[in-house]
Amino acid sequence: MTTLNRTTAPHTWLARQSRWSWFEVAFWMATLLPFFLFPTYLTLASQIAIAALFAISVDLILGYAGIVTLGHALFFGLGAYSVGLLSARLGWGEPISSLAFAGLVAGLVGFVASYLIVRVQHLALIMVTLGLGFLGYELANAMTWLTGGTDGLRGVSTWQIFGTFRFDLWGYTAYTYSLVVLFLGLLVSRTIVNSSFGLALRGIRENVKRMPAIGSDHSWHLRKIYTISAALAGIAGGLLTQTTNTVGLDVLSFQRSADVVVMLILGGTGRLYGAIVGAIIFLVARDQLAGVNPQYWYFWIGLLLMLVVLFMPKGILGFFARFVERRG
């Protein structure tokens, strides 16, 4: 133990926490495999990318800041309808700006809602998020003149990306586009969680009672991450509209809010990639199981969920990461 070693140890240790690992590089290489191996599944692949982005947005608040939510579809749906209405009602279908608009709308509503979110904890918090989700769904349901109600929003068309890349029938463009947005979303989220702000969020999750005693205005941190998370969820929703050219009420449904939490729990919270792994498992399972038994496939999801929670409390990714981290 030299003195040099001692003084550099905490810096190198902290730097190592945020370093790109080979697993990450390998993972992102693997996301290109569907182009070659499963070209008929590109639509599913882009749905997975969108669900993964949505799950990452939930991980930011649930996994890092400890805000449990059962109503995040509100922001996903807001983004989806923002893009849909922009195209169907105003005739603007430019993808990039529409996506930014979706993030802005969801982020703004998220910012307003965050004032409510920071006031409550535990069960009350879950109920507030649940309530927000219900409000969103029923508002869209009631405003049939605007949203198309249960019939869905028609007449959505998405222009070519950069005026060059058409959304093709096979989903090449859709998957490429969704993958790029997912990657950017992960980059932003990764930056956030590896910053001092990310550390403050983990502090809130670990012991909210201590935060004021170390001089932290933690409710401002919470409002900030909730707003960012809402914007990210809105972008995911906007992506869904752009890749499917339709918006149904299901974008705001409780089912969607619950599914995204299930994905996150399956993959593992508080590690970003858990959100992606969870989305892959959930949607691939749905695709395969629904083929076998279209009505009862949630049975298997329920079973999987219980097994994971009981035997892999840190999620599937957390379970396997343990073996890697032990060596490091």
Binding site: R6, L14, A15, G203, H218
Partner: protein, 254 residues
């Protein structure tokens, strides 16, 4: 020497009741700069309540609190910390999954108002990390700086309690039974760390072990049934008949 120092923390007739139970009765204290005062009293005397009132976890029914000449009675708890009033907890109130280096760096970055920066890597906040590691080294926690807090020995966790408070750069530090649950031989070590804190910090600590109180405190405040029974130098308290009565079990409140 204590008399010549400016008063850093002052409470004037602090009063607090929970229903019919009066837990603080007109408590008036004054801590000069650099003091090492002990707050003692039997269980239920209202020692922790008093700390909660001073730090803002509880609101007094009446009375005022001044920190370095400024009235902070209505100031929120987090803002009081930023003004230089820190505390530790009798029961560990730590961040179990964070490592000590992360936890103390968090405190430093909150103090320097950089904790909200979400675009800059934590590992590039070298000044905050350096300071955090320096504090951990001083509190003999350097070797466990990168281990999750929950895996630390209990005594080390008690030291981390103090490290977190110190990282706020307090003018006044309130230690609520810093050695609670620590074996006797280790608690002396803990208090030698406390005795070695920067000399300009005013320290008020709650402690039950009278040997430790007599050894490390220059002045003692005795709290009984929510009110100050007596406040005096360690030497005088040692021979005070009323204090002896209280500690022999005859309540002075009758």
């Amino acid at each position: 020497m204590g008399q010549t120092q400016p008063i850093m923390l002052k409470t004037n007739a602090l009063r607090k009741s929970f229903g019919a139970l009066q837990v603080s009765r007109d408590v008036s204290l004054a801590l000069p700069r650099g003091c090492r005062y002990a707050l003692i009293g039997p269980n239920g005397a209202g020692k922790t309540t008093l700390i909660n009132l001073i730090t803002g976890q509880l609101k007094p029914d009446s009375g005022t609190i001044e920190l370095d000449g400024e009235d902070i009675t209505a100031t929120p708890a987090a803002a009081r910390v930023r003004k230089g009033l820190a505390r530790t907890f009798q029961i560990n109130t730590l961040f179990p999954e964070l490592t000590p280096i992360e936890a103390v760096t968090l405190v430093v970055s909150e103090r320097e108002a950089v904790a909200g920066q979400f675009w800059r890597r934590l590992s590039t906040q070298t000044e905050a990390i350096d300071e955090a590691f320096e504090i951990l080294t001083r509190l003999r926690l350097a070797d466990v700086a990168t281990r999750p807090t929950r895996t630390l020995a209990y005594g080390q966790q008690r030291l981390l309690e103090i490290a977190l408070a110190l990282a706020t750069r307090p003018k006044v530090l309130l230690l609520d039974e810093p050695a609670a649950g620590v074996p006797k031989d280790e608690s002396a070590m803990l208090f030698s760390v406390i005795a070695g804190l920067p000399e300009d910090i005013s320290v008020l600590f709650i402690e039950h072990d009278m040997n430790i109180v007599f050894r490390f405190a220059t002045r003692i405040i005795v709290l009984v049934s929510g009110g100050v029974l007596v406040e005096d130098t360690t030497a005088n308290i040692r021979t005070d008949a009323r204090v002896r009565d209280v500690y022999l079990g005859h309540g002075a409140h009758g």
